[in-house]
Point group: D3
Amino acid sequence: MTRFHRANAKSFSDANIIVMGVPDESRSHATRKGTSTAPDTIRAASDESEFFVRDGKLIPTVPMRGTLEGKRIFDAGNVQRNAVYEQARKIVEAGKTPVTLGGDHSLTTDILKAAGSGRKLSLLYFDAHPDFVSSARNYYGSVLTDSADYVDYKKSMLVGTRAAEPEEIENAKKAGLAMVTPIDITDLGVHKVAEMIREKVAGSRVYISVDLDCVDPAFAPGVSVPSPGGITVADLLYLLTSTISSCDVIGFDIVELSPDYDADGRTANLAARILTECIACLKKSPS
Amino acid sequence: MTRFHRANAKSFSDANIIVMGVPDESRSHATRKGTSTAPDTIRAASDESEFFVRDGKLIPTVPMRGTLEGKRIFDAGNVQRNAVYEQARKIVEAGKTPVTLGGDHSLTTDILKAAGSGRKLSLLYFDAHPDFVSSARNYYGSVLTDSADYVDYKKSMLVGTRAAEPEEIENAKKAGLAMVTPIDITDLGVHKVAEMIREKVAGSRVYISVDLDCVDPAFAPGVSVPSPGGITVADLLYLLTSTISSCDVIGFDIVELSPDYDADGRTANLAARILTECIACLKKSPS
Amino acid sequence: MTRFHRANAKSFSDANIIVMGVPDESRSHATRKGTSTAPDTIRAASDESEFFVRDGKLIPTVPMRGTLEGKRIFDAGNVQRNAVYEQARKIVEAGKTPVTLGGDHSLTTDILKAAGSGRKLSLLYFDAHPDFVSSARNYYGSVLTDSADYVDYKKSMLVGTRAAEPEEIENAKKAGLAMVTPIDITDLGVHKVAEMIREKVAGSRVYISVDLDCVDPAFAPGVSVPSPGGITVADLLYLLTSTISSCDVIGFDIVELSPDYDADGRTANLAARILTECIACLKKSPS
Amino acid sequence: MTRFHRANAKSFSDANIIVMGVPDESRSHATRKGTSTAPDTIRAASDESEFFVRDGKLIPTVPMRGTLEGKRIFDAGNVQRNAVYEQARKIVEAGKTPVTLGGDHSLTTDILKAAGSGRKLSLLYFDAHPDFVSSARNYYGSVLTDSADYVDYKKSMLVGTRAAEPEEIENAKKAGLAMVTPIDITDLGVHKVAEMIREKVAGSRVYISVDLDCVDPAFAPGVSVPSPGGITVADLLYLLTSTISSCDVIGFDIVELSPDYDADGRTANLAARILTECIACLKKSPS
Amino acid sequence: MTRFHRANAKSFSDANIIVMGVPDESRSHATRKGTSTAPDTIRAASDESEFFVRDGKLIPTVPMRGTLEGKRIFDAGNVQRNAVYEQARKIVEAGKTPVTLGGDHSLTTDILKAAGSGRKLSLLYFDAHPDFVSSARNYYGSVLTDSADYVDYKKSMLVGTRAAEPEEIENAKKAGLAMVTPIDITDLGVHKVAEMIREKVAGSRVYISVDLDCVDPAFAPGVSVPSPGGITVADLLYLLTSTISSCDVIGFDIVELSPDYDADGRTANLAARILTECIACLKKSPS
Amino acid sequence: MTRFHRANAKSFSDANIIVMGVPDESRSHATRKGTSTAPDTIRAASDESEFFVRDGKLIPTVPMRGTLEGKRIFDAGNVQRNAVYEQARKIVEAGKTPVTLGGDHSLTTDILKAAGSGRKLSLLYFDAHPDFVSSARNYYGSVLTDSADYVDYKKSMLVGTRAAEPEEIENAKKAGLAMVTPIDITDLGVHKVAEMIREKVAGSRVYISVDLDCVDPAFAPGVSVPSPGGITVADLLYLLTSTISSCDVIGFDIVELSPDYDADGRTANLAARILTECIACLKKSPS
Ligand SMILES: [Mn+2]
Ligand SMILES: [Mn+2]
Ligand SMILES: [Mn+2]
Ligand SMILES: [Mn+2]
Ligand SMILES: [Mn+2]
Ligand SMILES: [Mn+2]
Ligand SMILES: [Mn+2]
Ligand SMILES: [Mn+2]
Ligand SMILES: [Mn+2]
Ligand SMILES: [Mn+2]
Ligand SMILES: [Mn+2]
Ligand SMILES: [Mn+2]
């Protein structure tokens, strides 16, 4: 099995951060296939692009912000699609932080159900798409609809949105769910957007979902449903690290990598980098 | 008795926001006297500068951000210096928000003691001075020292600081208390500073204390201990309203107005304006 | 008679810019009196603060942006309050640009009526107050209401607003009239606000009215109805000069100076400076 | 024939916006060929990347700013290179807005000739190159020279320029034509640049030409003459949408897509996105 | 004699920074008199506004940036106007840094002559006025003209300029001397201006002259020739401290305080604060 | 031999800027090979992407900032790896500016040794990696360690760093070497970073080394050791041109291009563009 080389804990019980993969794309409608191979591709990309080998020693690179010191990370391997909820519940109930690698975006619904523990969460959803379709259900395009019982829409935000269907816009408006497009981010600047995010989620437990298609295809060509006009990697990393450093983030996922359409591992390496930078900014244990 | 005309509640029990004055300067060392007359001066300034009279009707102006609708404000009048703690405790225990008009800055210690209810608070301290002296105690220059049991220094911030004694700098460093000078605010920009504040106090209950000397003497000549090089009123109002709108603010005070040194009511009017804008951004009831 | 020393044209017919004073405060309700002495005070302030005398020669200072070269300015002196409309109509029909010094703000209504020539204008209204009262009429607080026939509200903007009555807010909302407070200007930054202004007035003929109370009392203590929390002079000058340089501005006025409450001529000198900088950015002839 | 799926009008007369393609590269000197296939490639890209299919229904995505509601768009198909002027004249005379898909950049000259209707236009030219060669004529590198009779250079601007010949720089200087490089945009920030554009074109009718090589090759690899150091897609979309929303834009074109050099449709999808976002910000009918 | 309380060195030879006063206004043409009393007023203001007294001990405040540790400051008292050059030469030849308190601005000419040691200096001139008159000489309005032999105009800059005579503008243009107005500073932002300053003086020895009239009269009412529309104190302090921290600054002066026109010591306190913050950012010994 | 077409000098002695290539990758540990072919690839890319051919004439494009006029450039061809120090010394001793095209990054050590002429230099190191390994030596990963005798770390800066080993972070900390990550650049903005650079190197002679992996792989896929999360080309070009225009830059290099992994010449064209823009901003002769 491919292993996440940043994982430094021997066992589930020894860790405070649990990484798992969901090698499944059964609830995707995309014409581009292959996201089921993503979890292992990201692990391998981390191995390759975030470590140097010298004199037979494996040397890790250091994250830009935050730290990996004191973080005990366990890679729980891959789980079946229908076991996602149970596994996430186990992680959350053990007081640990779930970090999930998709797979298609539908898995987020199951994590949210497990992570909320009965209380609604704030959701930060970095995605070109709102995934708020209601005319179809239980697939990668209806995550927000399917998660209605677990998410406090008024304390949540869509970031990087730029390819929404009319019914999604209407659903977001009705739900009071805020949306920030890439043009908005250019207009407002990252500090203002970071401020808006914090204001929005203030006082809540926060879950972050990163659909890699939120960034521009120039930076992330290997995704299931690419959309032009995306945000830059620098803006994404700033928003993620500053939010995780200062808000009560209880878990996150990275989804929709489609390795077959990647250019020279660029998107996979980016996924691995997001994974590391986000873990480095997490608190040691969730609240 | 001068009354705060924004006060719209008939009784203490009917209100969720309680305004009180502390007409006392016994713990000030300033050569400029007169801050004991400030509470009533601020009430009168609000009456004069925030209301228009037309056809015998008193017409209030509307705050720039937030709203006064749904806020039930009671003016509990003035209290003796030695009754501050008791009165504040009564307000907090009744689940109401204390808003206090000084008087010298020492009163903040008593409010913090009452407001924390046993748990340490985040403190945002807008002041030209750190008020963190430890070689003297129980006066307007040792508020931070005297409040050690009620404040989580690491989740607090001094804003607008520019006239600190060496021992205050040292005390702040030891305590891990962050400090942002007016030059820093110019350097970083208000959005970044607002972001830093929110990051600092994330997850905590927050108390805000506004020493009017934080702004430049051009805007606030009527204070006990003026210091050149202060922040602008626009920056202050932005930082206050954006913080109160998004953080869990449980009370605030406005202190150190010295009416005898004012120019044409400029500082008193400003105090009244800060009072209104802050109340307008408060949540309806404290958490 | 006090003369505006920048006036370099011999006669009305020789000029393309006509300055006139309106020494009248009969439609003011302010408790602070004296704005009827303002036109001559501004002329004298220009003389004193914008010219140097050396070896018996009067040497003018040069504006920061734009130029006075090619501008032919005639000072038509003071006019009676009830002659304002006629005088303004004469200026506009002769293809010249009216520049008016108040006096109370009510004069703007008469200028707008004359300047529009039957077509509605865009109005940029720099003022702490919206002056959009409708429960009283024909005074300095109802300029926007009284000018309904001459102003296209949807292409106009209130700038620096911070002391509005509830009915004014409602009237603005109904009319689709945009409003930018001083906190908004700090939040958005001047470039974004300048952009919003230009977007708003695009394609229209624009009239600008500057109530000196739009800036903070620190910069302009000598006004009829001061209000704390105003914009800075630097922001005002940037917004005025950049707008006049790029939009189709057909006239402007400067009103509400109250010399009796001034501090050492600070507000009068500022009025003179605004007058010069705005004239310097005007086109040679109105469109 | 490939059809632009956003086209919702049944006939030319029924529409206010007319899209046409110019599948011609006869006046290009580029070594990279293929721009004659671009119009249909962009139509297909729009179909594929801006629509979702679900349950047999075609569902359009919603633009980020502006709206498509009330826009009646007719796709007039492709026209021969020598019919461009006539077709554009027909569109303009019918009071409709021409939107043209190149083809090589030379077509812009014919549109400008038709669109001006005898009065010179403001031209915003987003291009890595000034296309202001005068030592050769009537090709994709001499658009500005060839359009001298139709363009008011002093009210026009080159944006994103970074690969100019010496004679082009000289021609621009002589003509008083402003130029903003990608380094300038980074230096000035997008709000300032948007402000400069509006200032430049104030009061004029504006035509916008988008050579896709204005953005960096990372975002648009599939162009005829790529040049490193381009602007970001986010900056381009901000500048286009904010300008179209607020200025009197009477038409635009998108040119120089070279599909053979594209990477996985990235540039074609971007072209389609620019097309949609620009149409959404157009006024309903040209002035 | 009034003494600068920050002065901690016993003797001239013991110090690396020498403060001197020039109580002379004989070369001023201002109608406002009194700048000859400024040096002692600034010393007294520093004593009063920058020190606290507690339990009989004098406690200094700490500068915002830089440090006073390791700085050995000697107050050489006041010198006659005609001894300025000699005294400055003595300081410079001893390898020490001259810090001078005016007095009228003409003294700067003598310091520049002494400080250059035969090589031309970069001059940063913070002033509402260019002081570049050439039709009169040897007075406070011709400093730049009189210093032609000591200043490299092309590597110098006027900052805060807003009240220039036509001949001064012409002289500056001819000399290649850059000028940044307060509107420019608002337009460009402080970081860009700081960058431009550093670029301008790169590689040169720099002298800084601060005419207190560079800031707005709201912040500095007590100056000889006030001019509306000035920069803010925050911008001034940022530009001074960032420049001194990073460039090769070999001396500075603070001039034109007119105590008789001050409001409650505001300008004098500001002068003292500028003095301290600038000294704190100086290198220990000049290069 | 491939020639750099910008080279306009006939001989070494005739030139003030000397370009040389180092076609060597013997001290690289990268798994991606091919950087030894980079010097000629960059020359060819410049020829192709920075020149137009028309009517048999070769027409150069003009740089965005700075100028090539008066620059006399000689292309000294390629040198063996072990001759780099000698060749660089010859250039420097002749008072000329060395511009070097790698090859692996280790060559920088030899240039620094030659260029310092015995005095330590300021080094600006644009690189995803610190290249400050000390557990191995004399390779592309230990440039900073190997150059300890030639570089004043405290006056140097790493820019764009994001893939550092723990020992590199430690070495940088110990040495007092500043580091700015891509997230920092997004956070601080380019003007602040440019200011920090100038502050850091003030008064020193500066050498700049550009490892192409500093920019994001979207812009520069063709490098030996790509790392996600890089800076944008626009930010790089702004920082390079503004620094070279204002600091005492005595030479620079561009390294680590790996043509085999490039996409359609994108990285090579970028290298050529960096080369031209940097030369255009150089002073005519080094100090
Ligand atoms: Mn998704
Ligand atoms: Mn998506
Ligand atoms: Mn204080
Ligand atoms: Mn205090
Ligand atoms: Mn008014
Ligand atoms: Mn008003
Ligand atoms: Mn073109
Ligand atoms: Mn082009
Ligand atoms: Mn002066
Ligand atoms: Mn002056
Ligand atoms: Mn590298
Ligand atoms: Mn390297």
